[in-house]
């Protein structure tokens, strides 16, 4: 008997392996092998689509990406006068004052460090507002009213717009004169002079990008939260009402705790997607401000620095991998 079950198991197992072959083969070609290639290239000075001789440079790409230096900046000197120029030129990352003295932080690739910072700020605020608005929309749509079906349909509209298309629609809304909607609208209320450059003024770029992303992805958040809300049995609310709990108490003692798992998943899902943001940055602010992904793209395609770009890829990969592990810990893979 055990012989037979053993044979059955072996048959099942061999079928399982056979059925996994196409998927594993494709993923080897498009993910695993390219990733290995990228890790290898990150230790070289290879040039993208070039004929130059490639040399092995060890950790040079990584050290140059993270090289930082702090120098005192006297009043009468320019930043490039105090920052080291050899063996590689350092550029200004930022300046700060400490006990009356001005200091400058220099880096070989300040744009890289800025791109990480931009991506983190972008992710934090975008996910925060998406969750907040998503929550509000989900709660509203979850209550019974006439036209709820229409509302649900409207909800998915921004989600159905291609990211690049939404970027171009917003580019036009944010046009830096009163032929653009937002400038016309704001100047009606006396805000700004009707010439606000949302996408070229450094301080306004990130808020504008966050605004665009929030519009596009709030529906996704709302739909996931709504699905979570609908899993909560109505009897719980009835019981709470019988016990005399008010709407606010019901929210904090039933809705919120029961929604936590769906919310956590939606949060991590969105965080991971935001960390990878590319199209929005590339289309709307191009080479003025980078996200991690758009900087990586610029170094690879624009600058053809394939070795350096590969090192950037590895770093992005590690950052996202950390978040992905958190995601999997939250979800847990079911055991059979």
């Amino acid at each position: 008997m055990s012989q037979i079950t053993n044979n059955l198991f072996k048959k099942e197992q061999s079928l399982a392996y056979k059925m996994l072959i196409p998927t594993i083969l494709i993923l080897l070609i498009v993910a695993v092998y390219p990733l290995g290639q990228v890790v290898y290239t990150s230790f070289t000075n290879r040039v993208f689509a070039g004929v130059e001789e490639t040399e092995f440079v060890g950790l040079d790409n990584y050290t140059s990406l993270f090289s930082l230096t702090i120098k005192e900046l006297p009043e009468d000197k320019y930043s490039f006068e105090v920052l080291p120029r050899k063996p590689k030129r350092y550029k200004e990352l930022t300046t700060f004052s400490f006990s009356g003295e001005k200091y400058i932080i220099g880096a070989i690739h300040p744009e890289f460090i800025k791109s990480i910072w931009n991506t983190i700020i972008f992710t934090f605020f975008a996910v925060f507002f998406e969750t907040l608005f998503g929550f509000i929309i989900a709660l509203v749509v979850n209550s019974k009213f006439v036209g709820r079906g229409v509302m649900r349909a409207i909800m998915s509209l921004p989600w159905a717009v291609i990211t690049v298309v939404s970027a171009r629609i917003w580019e036009w809304i944010l046009f830096p004169s009163r032929i653009g909607f937002l400038n016309m609208f704001l100047s009606k209320f006396g805000i700004g002079n009707g010439q606000i450059s949302f996408l070229t003024e450094s301080g306004l770029q990130l808020p504008s990008l966050i605004m665009v992303d929030v519009w596009k992805t709030t529906p996704f958040m709302a739909l996931l939260i709504l699905a979570g809300l609908q899993l909560i049995p109505n009897e719980l609310y009835e019981a709470a009402r019988v016990d005399g709990a008010g709407k606010i108490k019901q929210f904090f003692s039933i809705t919120f705790p029961l929604l936590k798992p769906s919310l956590a998943v939606a949060l991590i899902f969105r965080t991971l997607a935001s960390l990878r943001v590319f199209g929005l940055f590339q289309v709307l602010v191009g080479q003025q401000k980078y996200s991690m992904a758009s900087y990586n793209y610029y170094q690879l395609i624009g600058n053809r620095a394939m070795g350096l770009a590969s090192a950037i890829s590895v770093i992005i990969f590690i950052i996202i991998f950390i978040f992905a592990v958190m995601y999997m810990k939250t979800l847990g893979v079911e055991n059979e």
Binding site: P22, S156, V165, F269, F278
Partner: protein, 288 residues
């Protein structure tokens, strides 16, 4: 009386919030529609108008010129065609391969299942930009054109996702189905394609739609792989790089018309299949 008044105030507040939400969600798209119906000189009116108005007498004045222009525009027509080919091929390939592996992962016993599941889940979060240069090298080695390159490389995000979601659907099919089929003398593979696969048809529709939308949306790979072959550009690339016949300034009217045209099919799909799509998303994200 007071209670009644309370109710009325509550209702008014609720409707107000509802209206704000609707305006917020719909307005940018409305703005695209509005702008797409304006001529170049109407677009240059300052301050801009909420509906297309005549530049002389301010009467309402629509123009369909932008729509006529984009349908005469080669970049746009090719883009639509390329996107359709790429998205449909990607969807079919990932459904085929994905349902095979999902059956193995959801219904068969084998060694190394857990690690495979973890790897697939991890791959749904793969940052695409990080493999761009390596993928470029693979495509150069295989020496394939831009369109098959996109189809192949899109597998990196559609295949793990499809496999993951389909696995959770397969897992929920009752075990008895398989057992009774086996008692009747069916091999496990026959059980798969004759009994289980038809039962997962709704799941195939859902995951297929999601794969299609992801592929329709993709920009980074398309931008890179079509850089030397502009004729293979997909819609997102075409719209990102859109320039008019006369490149005097950015032709926003035509861009908005293109935006409206490419959004409508997806909006219709999403409207019709919304419940299914949400089910797919939650199966992928929540149930695990």
């Amino acid at each position: 009386m007071i209670k009644n008044l309370d109710n009325i105030i509550q209702n008014i507040l609720f409707i107000a919030i509802l209206l704000i939400i609707v305006v917020y969600l719909v307005f940018p798209f409305y703005w695209a529609v509005n702008s797409s119906l304006k001529t170049e000189s109407q677009l240059q009116m300052s301050p801009t108008t909420i509906i297309p108005r005549n530049t002389n007498d301010n009467s309402i004045d629509f123009s369909f010129k932008n729509y006529i222009n984009i349908f005469k525009n080669d970049q746009f027509i090719r883009g639509m065609l390329n996107s359709t080919i790429v998205a449909i091929s990607t969807t079919i390939l990932s459904l085929l391969s994905g349902s095979f592996s999902a059956f193995a992962l959801g219904k068969l016993r084998f060694k190394g299942k857990k690690i495979t599941l973890y790897t697939i889940l991890a791959m749904t979060m793969f940052p695409q930009v990080t493999v761009l240069s390596g993928l470029y090298a693979v495509i150069n080695t295989l020496n394939i054109d831009a369109i098959p390159s996109m189809i192949l490389s899109y597998m990196i995000f559609t295949l793990p996702f499809t496999t993951w979601v389909m696995t959770s659907f397969f897992r929920e099919l009752p075990k008895e189905l398989m057992q009774s089929a086996q008692v009747d003398g069916a091999t496990p593979f026959q059980t798969f394609y004759m009994i289980l696969l038809p039962l997962t048809a709704p799941a195939l529709v859902t995951t297929g739609l999601l794969a299609f939308i992801q592929a329709w949306n993709e920009y980074l790979f398309a931008l890179t792989f079509t850089s030397i072959d502009p004729a293979a550009r997909t819609i997102p690339v075409a719209i990102a790089l859109f320039s008019g016949e006369v490149t005097r300034q950015i032709p926003y009217g035509e861009i908005m018309a293109a935006a409206v045209v490419v959004t409508i099919p997806i909006v219709l799909l999403v409207f019709v299949f919304q419940k299914k799509i949400v089910a797919g998303l939650t199966a992928g994200a929540i149930k695990g």
